[in-house]
Symmetry: C2
Subunit: 364 residues, 2 copies
């Protein structure tokens, strides 16, 4: 059976590898020769247990996660982590540092303020817009902070951190929702990392948390049990019923990544995709304009403007006719946004670039 498929530049939920979806399709009624769907299995049974273990161990392997870190699969997305990070790691009498680089870091800060004392260590906002991430020198860090929080990639403004800030002995917490696994990174540089799965690793409904064990142990105990990392860590994310199908899909995605040789190849392709797409924008600078400073340009969400909003609208409509969807910028900023997560291949980016060239030629 051939399926009609489009090129999907959605910002998240986003494109998934076709082979991961095909596997889900083929096993939908009879998973692992068990006579039922993976969704119908008990989360405590051996069949689902093997999937769960494989998802954890694939993540551990792809990232070389050190033994003193937990790998958790939780619910509620990054938005719930905005609250859970301070609930667990920000005791009364301490303060947490937040670095503001976009709408999501503002939301993370707003939620933390409802939990405890916070401080803004840096912001790159200018008249409500963020066009870059800060340099290390711009970070005014509190050496006694409970943690420093950053957003490693900013989907709306199209910026990304290409260095890991040095925070001394203060644990670094990162919302990596939109660039998690775009390449391998050194987990040891972070105290805690979280990522909603619906960009690079799976469907919505599950958030990956990688957290240093000592931070979990020192976590606050005066909060509901369900919100403690310690609860989920003690039970390998099986304290309550996990979102089994979403974790199964993560397993499907990660096993493809592992089979293809791991994250080195993923990074190489992602860098090439960025080179090709930003290259087109810069070459046609009379028509396309990227508002992001060069050193902060995201390799996951490429945002750009056309000469007028009318042309932007026509661009989105004609791209759709050409089989490319999800190119409209976030409603809060407008313009065009091409999200080119891991499952969006170099070919897809090349197709977009061809379209951009001919659109500029016709309308420039």
């Amino acid at each position: 059976m051939t399926n009609h498929r489009v090129i999907n530049f959605n910002a998240g939920p986003a494109a998934l590898p076709v082979a991961a979806l095909e596997r889900a399709r083929d096993e939908m009624l009879d998973f692992a020769n068990s006579g039922m769907s993976v969704m119908e299995h008990s989360h405590r049974g051996k069949e689902y247990g093997a999937v769960h273990e494989e998802a954890v161990s694939l993540l551990r392997k792809l990232l070389d996660v050190p033994e003193d870190y937990h790998v958790l699969f939780l619910q509620g997305g990054a938005s719930q982590q905005f609250a859970m990070v301070p609930m667990n790691l920000l005791p009364v009498g301490r303060s947490a540092d937040y670095v503001l680089t976009g709408a999501w870091s503002e939301k993370a800060l707003a939620e933390a303020k409802l939990v405890g004392t916070t401080r803004v260590a840096a912001t790159t906002a200018k008249e409500g817009k963020y066009t870059r991430v800060p340099t290390q020198r711009e970070l005014e860090l509190d050496g006694g902070a409970a943690y420093v929080h950053i957003t490693s990639n900013n989907t709306i403004f199209g910026t990304q951190w290409f260095y890991v800030p040095e925070t001394g002995t203060v644990p670094l917490a990162a919302d990596m929702s939109s660039d998690f696994l775009w390449r391998k990174f050194d987990v040891r540089r972070f105290g805690l990392v979280y990522a909603g799965a619906q960009k690079n690793v799976g469907p919505s409904g599950v958030v990956v948390v990688i957290v240093r064990k000592d931070l979990v142990e020192a976590g606050r105990k005066d909060i509901p049990k369900i919100f403690r990392y310690a609860t989920h860590a003690a039970d390998n994310s099986l304290y309550n019923t996990p979102p089994t199908f979403s974790i199964y899909m993560i397993r499907n995605v990660l096993s493809l990544t592992a089979e293809a040789g791991g994250l080195e190849g993923v990074e190489k392709t992602n860098r090439e995709k960025g080179r090709v797409l930003y290259g087109c924008i810069d070459k046609l600078a009379a028509f396309y304009r990227c508002p992001v400073e060069v050193g902060s340009r995201s390799l996951m969400n490429v945002v750009f403007r056309l000469p007028t909003p009318e042309l932007e609208e026509r661009f989105v409509a004609e791209a759709k006719k050409a089989g490319m969807v999800g190119l409209k910028g976030h409603r809060s900023v407008g313009g065009i946004r091409a999200s080119i997560y891991n499952a969006v291949g170099l070919d897809a980016v090349r197709t977009l670039v061809s379209f951009m060239e001919s659109f500029a030629a016709k309308n420039g």
Copy 2:
């Protein structure tokens, strides 16, 4: 393609209607002729939006949910509702009444204790076991309580409430995870109802909450925004990325229920399934024994014992060979448990009963 399928008596995640799974399979790579999976769609796009709306409106229609109630799809399962109910509805200086009928209500109470002041309005525990739900007369209700909490069906002990307790002006909050939609019920009798989907309505990863609007409005504002019902109600459960695929599966299940004529037929079948299965247990009382008092016997989770643990083990193993899985009782109580949720048909129960009759004849 024919699939090997077994009869699935799992307690949850549990059996789903085959037609709901087939629909998911057939649309996996190309949903609604959009050229992508429903999982790859933006939660803010019109394609997923239509699914979301349909799931909400099907629930509203099947239950005649009054206009002054919200229908929400949240994450974190019933376990997270154990915390969210008191976080929202239990202000400082007030107390909430809990009725204990099993392990899940104990967990709900334990979580509420971490949030505010609680009181036990009734318990049917005897030496750590629960063999019935309380009568109305046994409920020692606090007329000034913020709410009364019950667990409408107890998966581990196999008991179920067949009446809605009268709580006067005090709102009744019910964990209906394991019997939600077993029949139609009068939503107006409840202030709040919640149900993890993974029994009667879908896969794990989503919890349905039906809550009176005035309770949401009066809810506490000093908690993180993500945990306020008001946040999710204001955005029709789209404040943050919802578990789109899980909600899509709920839609698939509910549309089958609606097509089959609604919940009246579901109730009739469920009552017949219970009659047949408990009828077998009672008829073969020399071999099978149900520890639950007759008036509290659950129509969702039928628990029973055999003369010895060895026979129970053999029962489970031989049933599995005969194509029936998930019959082992919960590890905390042992014995046999047949969960016969909506997707488990009368035929499946008849097959189990035949097996039980021949097993008793051979081993009795």
